[in-house]
Symmetry: C2
């Protein structure tokens, strides 16, 4: 039960990757429909543009009054298969109803 | 002279497009070295990820104490050559010294 609650707490994150943009739009809508007050879109690297697309499509087409509550950017260090370390940019967009 | 001042006021924008990321990093550094207090990185579509890369490289490698003062996202309507209207996401990252 405790684990279940913990899971729910982290569940408002939608990780945006390389799938079609509407997949993530639908995932976010589902979370709002289940009563979530905020959804956090997270992406890194080239998926960052897609995360912004997801936020804008949600705002403009699906959920009235939705606003980006905060947008933050950062850098993560990844290790490639050959052991090389590379930096990749990240974004976190917190969406909520105004 | 008045026109020159107006030009300088708008000059703190760096439009991030499809060129290598270091081109835009250099453009931003140049503006700070010329006495600019803030630089605005603007991008749309797939270049959004690159704009975040530019901001993070500036912060982590080149300019100490640089922080994103504000990050905003939006949508622009473009007209294609065939007259079709498409929406494209935009980002504006304002960088300044803390």
């Amino acid at each position: 039960m405790a684990e279940n609650q913990k899971k729910n707490a982290a569940d408002n994150a939608v990780f945006v990757g390389t799938k079609p943009v509407m997949n993530y739009v639908l995932a976010a809508i589902t979370q709002f429909n289940q009563g979530g007050k905020e959804v956090v879109l997270k992406a890194r690297g080239k998926a960052i543009s897609r995360a912004v697309d997801v936020a804008e499509i949600l705002r403009n087409r699906f959920i009235q009054g939705l606003v980006p509550k905060s947008i933050s950017i950062g850098t993560e260090e990844l290790q490639t298969e050959s052991g090389e370390k590379i930096n990749v940019s990240t974004i976190e967009i917190v969406l909520g109803k105004s």
